[in-house]
Amino acid sequence: MTSAIWAYVVRGFRIERSYKLTFFGRYVGQLVYVLFTYFLGKVVESGSPTLLREYGDRYFPFLLVGGLFSQYLTTSMRQLPITVRDELMLGSLESTLVTPVPTVLALLGPGLWAQIEATLLLAFGLLLGGRVLGADLTSANWLSALVVAALSLVCLTAWGILSVAFVVVFKRTDPLNWLIGTTIQFLSGVYFPISVLPVWLRAGSYLFPLTYSLMMLRAAILDGASLPALGPSLGILAGLTAVFLPLSILALGRAIQISRQRGSLAHY
């Protein structure tokens, strides 16, 4: 099993590396994104934004953490259904489905490299923002950040698995995925604190796991919050994960069963 997982990672890396421009272009893209947040931060900070008081009136670190982590945590949600769809279109899924790896791994394995690459891009972005562009991350509690990021990743990957289940049955990427992705970016406080939203809209923010993730990650990285200090939000995130993860696994299992019955498991 471990060798099969590693095989997917190596293959994903080799495929991506074969597109050299795209492979290195992602890091250039990350550089441009961090620079964008830096200059946007300078503009916003020059206006003494009172709404950012709880974040030390600094918009750049606020946006840096929000932007980089939202990209990172939603990678599996965005990429998993796309990689499965790609494998179906290429026809390469069928031959892995007849090997003795579990069907779930054959479906999720092709997306593993994307998540590893996203981790590298996150580290690159944080180093660039913190070390080169001067975002103050010196008081960060990295242990808290790591725990929150790991839990958030599991929670949002469950959404990705739900999307894969959709692809397995309907052969199209989830049409709501883009809409949900955009809504999450808007309501989860990636670009601004959710306190600026009207109360009725803010209620919607609390439905998304990413809202809790970003609040806690900013608290851990910008203010050095410990795990106990993150208590309530961490509990909610754990609760959402406890609901979404088994639900997504059940949905994927059922989707595989339906596709086998229809004879369409490897169809596109």
Binding site: S92, S95, P100, G263
Partner: protein
């Protein structure tokens, strides 16, 4: 020389597969029963749409049967799919297993790992098989630069990489030139089956290929296993009419009536009338020698001058083909 043992490597018992398509039920497989002993090479013949690929997909766990039981290596494909997959190497008709931008070797390394082979073992087997299939020099080139025949050979290397006891080969010589196709047939029959005792289920729509190559043939027709056996056994069982064409001088109505009354004559038609002669095509049931004698007697009894007699369908394989090779759009 390996001898087939008694325990079946593949066993299908009353396997059916129904789909609902466009609001109606399509019977892709109907009560298919098939048993293949270990070390046996069986050809699965059928026209396009007869159900060959569906049957292969059921055995390779890609499709769940609607009813019936299918075992591979003693493992139920529905209840123990992973164990069943450990026993099989599958080459499907629409094979696109490889990423074109990766080399042949890199693609094979991936599949070796999925089959749990150690790097050392994978490397050893890859070198041997790549050499056997004439791909050693191309192994480090991207697969997208391979010809279709080379890619097909690489698929065979992939199928054999983990040394599975059961091979499900769906039209494996597609896209191959004659020499390579012969090489593959030789490898499958003489090396894999005869020497290593592999069990092979080999599909093709080329019955001539199967006649030369397979020990036993199963004919799938409209989703059912219509017949099983050697070509000679199948011909003996064949209910399809044999045809003869006779030229009579002149073909009188009384003669035609006499021929028509023969129980063995299933149809009769005048193909051509010419001054002083008539050409008649007669379709006969089973047992060609006896039936020909009956026709001869009927003609003699009416004093007809038999100018010419031609036995059509002399080619037994051709008869089998005509009998079974009817496209069936209702099955996949």
């Amino acid at each position: 020389m390996h001898r087939p043992s008694q325990a079946p490597a593949i066993m299908m018992e009353q396997v059916s597969k129904d789909y609902v398509s466009g609001g109606r039920v399509v019977h892709a497989l109907r009560d298919c029963t098939l048993s293949i002993a270990q070390g046996e090479l069986v050809g699965l013949f059928g026209p396009n749409g007869a159900g060959k690929t569906t049957l292969i997909h059921v055995l390779s766990t890609l499709i769940a049967p609607t009813s019936g039981v299918a075992l591979v290596g003693g493992h139920d494909v529905q209840l123990e799919p992973l164990a069943a997959r450990m026993h099989i190497g599958v080459l499907t008709e629409t094979q696109r297993a490889f990423h074109g931008r990766l080399s042949g070797r890199q693609n094979l390394e991936f599949f070796a790992a999925l089959h749990g082979l150690s790097r050392h073992e994978a490397s050893r087997r890859m070198e041997r098989l790549l050499g056997e299939f004439g791909l050693a020099d191309a192994a480090d080139r991207p697969v997208q630069t391979y010809s279709s025949g080379m890619a097909q050979r690489l698929h065979l290397v992939r199928v054999l990489l983990h040394d599975p006891p059961v091979l499900l080969l769906d039209e494996p010589t597609n896209s191959m030139d004659i020499q390579t196709a012969d090489l593959v047939r030789h490898l499958v029959k003489d090396e894999l089956v005869a020497n290593r005792g592999k069990t092979v289920l080999y599909t093709t729509h080329d019955l001539y290929e199967m006649d030369r190559f397979c020990e036993r043939i199963a004919i799938i027709h409209q989703g059912s296993i219509a017949a099983q056996g050697t070509v000679n056994e199948l011909l003996a069982e064949l209910a399809a009419p044999q045809r003869i064409r006779v030229q009579l001088a002149p073909g009188g109505d009384a003669t035609m009536d006499a021929l028509d009354r023969l129980p063995s004559v299933t149809s009769l038609r005048v193909v051509r009338r010419q001054p002083g002669s008539a050409e008649v095509e007669i379709a006969l049931g089973k047992g060609s020698e006896l039936e020909l004698a009956a026709v001869w007697n009927a003609l003699s009894a009416h004093g007809e001058a038999l100018l010419h007699l031609e036995q059509l369908d002399r080619d037994g394989i051709g008869r089998l083909l005509r009998h079974y090779a009817q496209s069936d759009e209702e099955t996949t």
